[in-house]
């Protein structure tokens, strides 16, 4: 079915063009419009060249969680999505909106895995339609990330959520895990969409728009897995070398990211621990209120007071639950994302070092006239360009990343403070109203009592 074709809008200047890709578009096939049924993968033979990242033991009747529920069936303008997703920079220019929802379990004879529904709404001209709906699994996200890293080795690619969390999980994949992952995947795609360079990446476009079989065939193109593996060993050797000749500004960057990584990891642990402690506090509080009600059954004259206290305790318990959910919505995912981000950035630093080292080794070869000087000189020329490109890309992206990081961290902690203030305000209100009710009665009573003699 053909989708509508929007007139391409003039894109505002200032967004740098995408880096070298090299894959063919592969989007000649007709694209599904908004009314397409989500193509489930049951009938397909799936490629199993990747490891079992998202092989999940999951019951067949996995409940569809209530996510950002806007139906793709209703024509929604891109602008209406401003309320639903957080974006980072240049809000006025945002023309690509992505949501990830409806995790679904799929069972085949070979494996069980989860797919997520991805809905893209865009006003960009180079997209054949204004709306797309596809299903992707974790493997596909991994592929996309790999392609982006390949195309832009010194850009800071957003992190993906972990494959699995080793400790603290009873079942490998439970509802909480899937929900956390879903949110993180959505963040991942939106960060790419907001990135001035990555947003125009061809593989990204394919990821968002292609149907399952199209994606499979598209994936098969380009450098294979093995060649990538081969590079890593050499890469390590190179990066050692690159460290020595690292320019000053990148030294600073490296120092920063090392310490940052340490600290953000600690903050991640602390935040998780706070959540756990709050959960345990809340569990105990659940018992605390009811005891007072029980007591009131044997105390005629204290019924009001005791039931009043019970009510307050129950309210405070509810307020705690709310505080906890606020924590898990905002602070925890934000901090955790930056834990993963810091690893990404360290990887980018290494890659830059490798590129530099390549140049350095050629220059060294030239000095010792180990090979044909003309060829070397030509190669060196190309490498110098490459290094310059890489450094500039990284520098620009670093500034951008740091700026975003500060905003995100600031906003996450401000949220946390807000949640806590709100929590204490709620508790305060309930206790104050109890106190008011007691002292009213109290003054009534004491005026009737005769003063106690002693």
């Amino acid at each position: 079915m053909e989708g509508e074709r929007l007139a391409s809008q003039a894109r505002s200047s200032g967004l740098p063009a995408g880096g070298a890709t090299g894959e063919s578009p592969g989007v000649d096939a007709p694209l599904l419009g908004s009314s397409g049924s989500s193509a489930l993968l049951q009938a397909e033979v799936l490629d199993l060249d990747e490891d079992e990242d998202d092989l999940e033991v999951f019951s067949k009747d996995a409940s569809l969680m209530d996510m950002n529920s806007f139906s793709p069936m209703m024509p929604t303008s891109p602008l209406s999505m401003i309320n639903q997703v957080k974006f980072e920079d240049e809000p006025d220019l945002k023309d690509l909106f992505i949501t990830v929802d409806e995790p679904e379990s799929h069972v085949t004879t070979i494996e069980t895995f989860i797919t997520y529904r991805i809905i893209t709404k865009t006003s960009r001209g180079e997209f054949d339609s204004s709306e797309f709906e596809v299903r992707r699994r974790y493997q596909d996200f991994l592929w996309l990330k790999g392609k982006l890293e390949e195309a832009h080795p010194t850009l800071i690619i957003p992190p993906l959520p972990e494959k699995f969390i080793v400790k603290g999980m009873v079942e490998r994949f439970n509802d909480d895990f899937i929900e956390t992952r879903r949110k993180a995947l959505q963040k991942f795609l939106n960060r790419i969409a907001d990135h001035p360079t990555l947003t125009f990446n061809e593989d990204f476009k394919v990821f968002l728009t292609a149907q399952a079989w199209e994606l499979s065939s598209h994936k098969k193109q380009g450098p294979g897995l093995l060649s990538r593996m081969g590079q890593t060993v050499r890469a390590v050797a190179l990066s050692m070398r690159g460290v020595k000749s690292r320019p000053e500004e990148f030294m600073e960057m490296n120092n920063f990211i090392e310490i940052f990584s340490q600290k953000i990891n600690l903050i991640d642990k602390i935040s998780q621990r706070i959540y756990k402690e709050e959960r345990e506090y809340s569990d105990e509080m659940k018992e605390y209120g009811p005891i007072h009600v029980l007591w009131s059954a044997s105390e005629e004259d204290l019924v009001d007071s005791l039931k009043g206290v019970a009510r307050c305790l129950d309210q405070c318990c509810k307020a705690t639950e709310k505080r906890m959910s606020g924590l898990s919505e905002a602070l925890l995912p934000a901090v955790h994302e930056y834990v993963l981000y810091s690893e990404m950035v360290m990887g980018v630093m290494k890659r830059r070092d490798q590129i530099q080292a390549e140049l350095d080794s050629k220059v060294e070869a030239l000095t010792y006239k180990k090979a044909d000087t003309d060829l070397l000189t030509e190669e060196i020329g190309k490498l110098e360009d490459k290094v310059e490109c890489a450094n500039n890309a990284l520098k620009a992206d670093w500034e951008r990343w740091k700026h975003n990081m500060q905003n995100d961290i600031k906003s996450a902690f401000t949220d946390m403070a807000e949640e806590n203030i709100h929590y204490y305000e709620q508790c305060l209100a309930t206790w104050e109203s109890f106190l008011a009710s007691q002292t009213d009665l109290h003054t009534e009573e004491t005026s009737e009592d005769k003063p106690e003699s002693h």
Binding site: N255, F256, I259, F260, K263, L266, I267, I270, R273, I274, E277, E278, E280, Y281, D283, E284, M285, E287, Y288, I291, H292, L294, W295, S298, E299, D301, L302, S305, L306, G308, V309, C312, C316, Q406, I409, K410, F413, T414, A417, E418, N420, I421, Y423, Y424, E425, C427, L428, W431, E432, F434, L435, Q438, T439, H442, H454
Partner: protein, 403 residues
């Protein structure tokens, strides 16, 4: 012990200090204990000024002795309880050590409370031994023991027996016993949960303290965010340390509830005394009735009930009329005595019920008043905690937003 009121003027009692001491115990072994300074002041009516009249040191075991004495001599009174001997309902950061300064401090307050309760009791305040406890340091123990109160105490076995076998206790006392059981059970439960809640709350606050340290370290590498992080970290430290005072206050609340937990036992003691007296009365009445019957049988010569005497008479022959006369006379004397005793026991029993019930009513009013106050003070504590929380987080939020 006597009806004299030793307090001519209004008095103030305070347990003002606690001191660690070492000494030798009854088995001549060295021991460490805490002694408490009790100061008594008499208050001039006219200008409200107080003058220190007595000051002496007592240890916990002497308080126990005083209370045991009061329990024996005033069985119809709900005798105020002592603070706990050993720390119970402890949450993990709170020490269970009797020598811990916080525990000693709370016990000091509890002992003062005990003395104030006794001094403000219309009957107990007139007791001479109590007066001497406050005024006569040396020899007091001997004086108490000389009263021989330990001998007067009812044996536990006797009391237990009475509880099981009494047929017609006053219904109000039976109800009171049930009430005191419920009170004890529910307060214990409440204190246990409160301790667990305190423990968890402590955890929540303290973990936030870790933020402080990490923020501070992180701020070193941040140019723009540095100041905000650093000062936010400081507020996290403030938050984390605020819990210590909050929970210390809550311990005082817990102590107020504990007093009534222990009061439940005092209530039960009064009920037990009633049961004992009632049982005694019932036994005496039974005994009297059987003697009367025996007498009647001897007089009329009919044997309605089985008796050993009856059997032996059958086996070994009748007794002489003189013998029978003698026996009847003895029985008649016993019966007359028994009737007197029964009368006086009855009177005693009714007196006891009347007096006990008066004190129980007094106790009920006191309990309702105190518990209500305690719950109000708990609310006040919570309000204070919330206000502190709002303050700290508002400050932190400001720091965060300036980053």
């Amino acid at each position: 012990m006597t009806e004299n009121n030793f307090w001519l003027k209004k008095i103030e009692i305070s347990v003002s200090e606690a001191e660690k001491r070492t000494g030798r115990n009854a088995m001549n072994m060295q021991e460490t204990y805490t002694a408490y300074l009790i100061e008594t002041r008499s208050v001039e009516h006219t200008d409200g000024q107080s003058v220190l009249t007595d000051s002496l040191w007592r240890r916990y075991s002497e308080f126990e002795l005083l209370r045991n004495y009061l329990l024996v001599y005033y069985p119809h009174i709900v005798v105020p309880p002592l603070p706990e001997k050993r720390a119970e309902f402890v949450w993990h950061k709170l020490s269970a050590d009797n020598m811990d300064p916080d525990f000693v401090e709370r016990r000091r307050i509890g002992l003062e409370n005990f003395l104030l309760r006794v001094a403000s009791h219309p009957i107990l305040c007139r007791d001479k031994i109590f007066y001497l406890f406050l005024t006569q340091e040396g020899n007091w123990k001997e004086t108490v023991n000389e009263t021989g109160f330990q001998l007067k105490a009812d044996s536990r076995l006797k009391a237990l027996n009475a509880t099981f076998r009494v047929k017609n206790p006053d219904k109000r006392f039976t109800e009171l016993k049930h009430y005191s059981d419920e009170l004890q059970s529910v307060i214990s439960h409440l204190l246990r949960v409160r301790a667990r809640v305190a423990d968890r709350l402590y955890g929540v606050y303290k973990v936030h303290g870790n933020y402080g340290r990490v923020f501070s370290e992180w701020s070193a590498i941040e140019k723009e965010m540095g100041d905000g992080l650093q000062s936010a970290g400081h507020h996290m430290d403030v938050y984390a340390s605020s819990i210590d005072d909050i929970l210390e206050d809550e311990e005082h609340y817990a102590d107020q509830l504990k007093e009534y937990l222990f009061y439940a036992e005092a209530l039960r003691a009064v009920c037990r005394k009633h049961e004992l007296m009632q049982y005694d009365l019932e036994m005496a009445a039974q005994d009297l009735a059987s003697k009367k019957q025996q007498c009647e049988e001897l007089a009329t010569g009919t044997v309605r009930t089985f008796s050993l005497k009856g059997m032996t008479t059958k086996l070994f022959g009748q007794e002489t009329p003189e013998q029978r006369e003698a026996r009847i006379k003895v029985l008649e004397e016993q019966i007359s005595e028994g009737e007197q005793q029964l009368k006086s026991k009855n009177l005693e029993g009714r007196e006891f019920v009347k007096n006990a019930w008066a004190d129980i009513e007094r106790f009920k009013e006191q309990k309702n008043h105190d518990l209500k106050e305690a719950l109000i003070s708990y609310a006040v504590m919570q309000i204070s905690m919330c206000k502190k929380g709002i303050q700290v987080w508002t400050n932190a939020k400001e720091c965060f937003s300036k980053m």
